[in-house]
């Protein structure tokens, strides 16, 4: 536990020191939220809730997705190129602990990202939700983002340092758009709507959108996300073990 904590502590400090990372994953979603929510009337209703609340959830999911993909994808891929995980393999920190530390740091940072967007919604757009509902929304968006940690690892182990940025950007931006985080799915062509509903970012946000509209909890969302986590996690684990055998990590 002491070793894992040491890895988490070092990684968290490094993450918070990375201004570029902070801007793109913590500040940018807030900026987009403020900008887009001002484009419509604050009283506009959408899908059984206010547009401000709906889009707040969209941007919280967008931010959390970005944090996880960048931390487990971009950062792990870059570190692999530098030989840092190879060095750590010669220390008592096992490779598994290294990956667990990365995922935990990503989850903590993602939680911060979600809370920042929600606090912005509360303070700037006066989104009003019962206190216990805030907690549920945070947990839905936060836990719903877990597949992206595994997806990021798959990209990190598949792609080199030069290609990882493209991989993460495509999954992050295109995935978010097609999942309806920027433009609600009902405004997209019907084929894209069907495709978008299959994406994990949609499943993540849809859980929270449902809670906002006081709809009955749809277990299909968490089960789909669990399926994504198992599939991506399995692929990431296979790639990870394969790389270890080759002596690359």
């Amino acid at each position: 536990m002491k070793k894992l904590w040491a890895a988490i502590s070092l990684d968290l400090r490094r993450t918070l020191r990375n201004r570029q990372f902070i801007f793109f994953t913590l500040i940018m979603p807030v900026g987009f939220y403020i900008l887009y929510s001002r484009m419509y009337s604050s009283s506009a209703q959408f899908q059984g809730t206010s547009w401000d609340a709906y889009f707040m959830v969209s941007m919280a999911a967008f931010g959390a997705t970005g944090v996880l993909l960048n931390t487990t994808g971009t950062r792990v891929a870059r570190e692999r190129m530098t030989g840092w995980p190879l060095y750590l393999a010669t220390t008592p920190l096992t490779a598994t602990r290294y990956v667990i530390a990365k995922i935990l740091v990503a989850q903590v940072t993602a939680l911060a990202s979600i809370v920042i967007v929600f606090v912005t919604g509360m303070l700037f757009n006066h989104v009003q939700i019962a206190w216990d509902s805030w907690g549920i929304l945070v947990m839905e968006v936060w836990l719903g983002a877990i597949p992206f940690a595994a997806w990021g690892l798959v990209l990190a182990y598949l792609m080199g340092q030069s290609a990882i940025n493209y991989g993460v950007t495509i999954v992050y931006l295109a995935g978010s758009f097609l999942a309806g985080l920027w433009t609600p799915l009902k405004f997209l062509p019907s084929a894209l709507q069907h495709f978008g509903k299959l994406l994990p970012a949609y499943q993540e946000a849809a859980m929270a959108w449902g809670s906002l509209a006081h709809r009955v909890f749809d277990w299909a969302h968490p089960l789909t996300l669990l399926g994504y986590t198992i599939v991506f996690g399995g692929i990431a684990r296979w790639l990870f073990v394969h790389q270890q055998r080759l002596g690359n990590d």
Partner: protein
């Protein structure tokens, strides 16, 4: 029976596809011993170090560190490492990295000792992406020793260091050796290897071509050299013919490289060009290195016999 070796390799072989990067290498290092890995590029030095660290799995043969599989030894905190091409995380400070490293080991060295031994007190608060090449190597050395490991593996440890830092580095490594730390280091620097290793493991094309003390290697294989000057100069070709041995022209005179010192000396003295300023030298490690790596493994095993 418990092994007397801190590090022991037996018939160690590693193949990348069909090509053998390391082929049947056997040797052992005792506690507190410093062994230099020497060999031309592609000789298998880095592969050997990676096998000893458990980063590669042998195709054949075994390697143990204090009697343990290298992966287990790494997990147990027995190993300290300076790899050749590790880039420390640039967004971490030196102190953060050292604290992290210490937390990974059960019985780390006190921070003050690590800082003093590696000579990094003035850069503790700096981020590693703002350090010079020599400073980074010192930080990597500090990390290698922070866990108080029993065996140190150093791949080209002084690469990028200036002369003063190098001397300081070897001095500090000597202190660790005196406390019983076993050191295996790869180097291209023959002077450092000669001066700071107890034994040299010479590799060529994946084969062990020699494993002995530097002095012993020089004595066994190097040819003595006779330095001299001439009142009336001769060409190297002419001189080689007259002395019947290899002659090299250097800035301070001629060097005759010969296995028959007495006979060659007599011929030099008999030269009408009046030789003077004689000096007899043993061969250098550079000569041994060239000779052995050119000869190849099998032939040398016959000559050395006792490895």
């Amino acid at each position: 029976m418990e092994s007397v070796f801190s590090l022991e390799c037996h018939a160690l072989t590693f193949r990348y596809g069909r090509a053998a990067a390391l082929d049947g290498v056997t040797f052992g290092c005792t506690q507190g011993e410093s062994v230099a890995l020497l060999g031309p590029n592609g000789a298998g030095k880095t592969t050997l170090i990676k096998l000893c660290l458990g980063l590669l799995t042998p195709t054949q043969g075994t390697v143990t560190v204090l009697g343990q599989d290298p992966k287990v030894a790494a997990r147990n905190g027995i190993i300290g490492t300076m790899l050749q091409h590790t880039h420390l995380p640039g967004d971490a400070t030196v102190a953060e990295l050292l604290r992290f490293q210490q937390a990974l080991y059960e019985h780390p060295l006190p921070m003050a000792d690590v800082v003093e031994t590696a000579g990094i007190s003035e850069i503790l608060t700096k981020r590693t992406d703002r350090l010079s090449g020599g400073q980074i190597r010192r930080v990597e050395f500090a990390m290698a020793i922070a866990g108080n490991p029993a065996v140190l593996f150093l791949d080209e440890p002084t690469e990028g260091m200036d002369l003063a830092t190098r001397q300081e580095f070897w001095h500090r490594l000597d202190i660790l050796k005196n406390y019983g730390t076993t050191v295996l280091f790869a180097s291209h620097d023959l002077t450092e290897t000669d001066r700071y290793s107890d034994r040299i493991l010479l590799l060529s094309q994946g084969h062990k071509v020699a494993f002995d003390q530097p002095e012993q290697l020089k004595r066994s294989l190097g040819l003595p050299r006779i330095r001299f000057r001439l009142q009336i100069p001769l060409t190297v070709e002419d001189l080689s013919e007259r002395l019947r041995c290899q002659v090299i022209l250097e800035s301070e005179g001629y060097v005759a490289v010969t296995p028959h010192v007495d006979e060659t000396l007599r011929r030099i003295v008999a030269l009408p060009q009046q030789a003077y300023h004689f000096a007899l030298e043993d061969s250098g490690l550079d000569e041994v290195f060239s000779h052995l790596t050119a000869m190849g493994g099998d032939r040398h095993e016959e000559i050395m016999g006792r490895n």
